[in-house]
Amino acid sequence: MKLEDLAGQSGEWLRGSGPESDIVISSRIRLARNLAEFPFIRKCTESDRSQIERALRERIAQVEEWRGLSYINVASLEEIDRQFLVERQLISREHSESEGPRSVAIDPHEKFSLMINEEDHLRIQVMQSGLDLQAAWERIDHIDDLIEERITYAFHERWGYLTACPTNVGTGMRVSVMLHLPALVITRQIDKVFRSLHKISLAVRGLYGEGSQAMGDFYQISNQITLGRGEQELIGQVRDIVPVLIDYERRAREFLVRESQKDLHDRVSRAYGILCTAQTISSEETMHLLSSVRMGINLGLIHDLEIPTVNKLFIHTQPAHLQKLRGTELDTADRNIERAHYLQRHLRKRDPSDDPEQN
């Protein structure tokens, strides 16, 4: 598999289907694991890292059902290719930016990836479109078992799976659900919601995880605690809060429709108009406007565009994707022009009577 082939597809997590997919983008679980016979990454020598890499690569190659996986040496990738994998959420930013031998194995359908030598020796992550944590758990549990057949994990009777950072010890599991919450942002209720989530030990992050700001009104809700509760309990905690958040978001949307239908329609139409006609546009502005358009489609204010298309535009207008699709490296100014052209090509090739420019 070439990265260029991936660029054309949306990947599992942006497929835009699955339960509650108007608000829930994706469900995701990751497990942190370490090999018992090596120090944690911080104390690894180059040779330790190579040996860890080899041991895991060999194990992955033995598994019959993983014949189709792409094994990518991240250390030897160009920066743009690493950035591309980060944008697709197949590797973390930390994995992209660290040094030394490290790699990733990617499922051809992008339903899971195995990061080797990230913060921990192994980070298994599974992605599922829409709200389906149970399916995600079953898949990751199985992947974990397959690796553990031949690999001895660092495990302690009392502390559970041992991780480089004590914040992950125990199950080593992070369960997260990505939500699109534009109406809660517009009505300024999002903060209140986050405060109440923190009270029940749930974390809120932006689109690209820890440290990233909430771009395009996407938020990831995840468990903060990893020790002292079983996997099912941790999953249940996240799963149970999601319908509450969906309900809040729906009510905020209804409120906007009821109280300020004109303003809302105007906002959505302007966003659509700018996206169709801009000559140069930044990634941030694109995300921001696409967010309004996405909500507009869900509220029936835009009829000639579908959610999967918008989801695809969210990822294809990211800097590395744009350059991969164009097949050449571009600086920021050129990227902004290319992004505007890309949006025009994909938003304006429909029925002329629907073209916002002619309305």
Binding site: E94, D144, R158, E231
Partner: protein, 171 residues
Amino acid sequence: MKCQHCEKPAIIHITELTDDVPVELHFCEEHARAYLTQSEAEEQPAPGTTMAGGLAQQVKVGKTAEDLARLDQRTCPVCGVTFYEFRHAGRLGCPHDYVCFRQELEPLIVNIHGATEHKGKRPQHSAHGTDQQTRLIQLRREMREAVQQEDYERASRLRDEIRRIERPSGA
């Protein structure tokens, strides 16, 4: 309310008006400074650095400078990481740290997770005894040090011992 980057209480609240929609941000003093001084083009701080800061602070609570200095010098016999290193990087050096720093880590872990006992999945094949593997970490490190000190006799002894553990006869 907690700082959105660490466990400290948020004392500085910033409303960003650069976008169409005001964005409200909540920080502790340290992260507010970091946020305000970072230039727009700059990347966000690497994931983990914020957590590391949080951990360092938690360890300091209720300790005198002498206590802390003594604590900082404690070293894991297996991987050689000092408690000082952990406190600053927020990352442990090897699995054995959970055993040798147990006393120091326990209050920290209780603080993070509110629990001290793993519940849930355990490895099916190797849930018992990873002492041999821990020994390997130590032996490899000692061998490296022996080579650095040009004590090749010791290095070769250590290498033989490593091989015995890596490939037990009959396996």
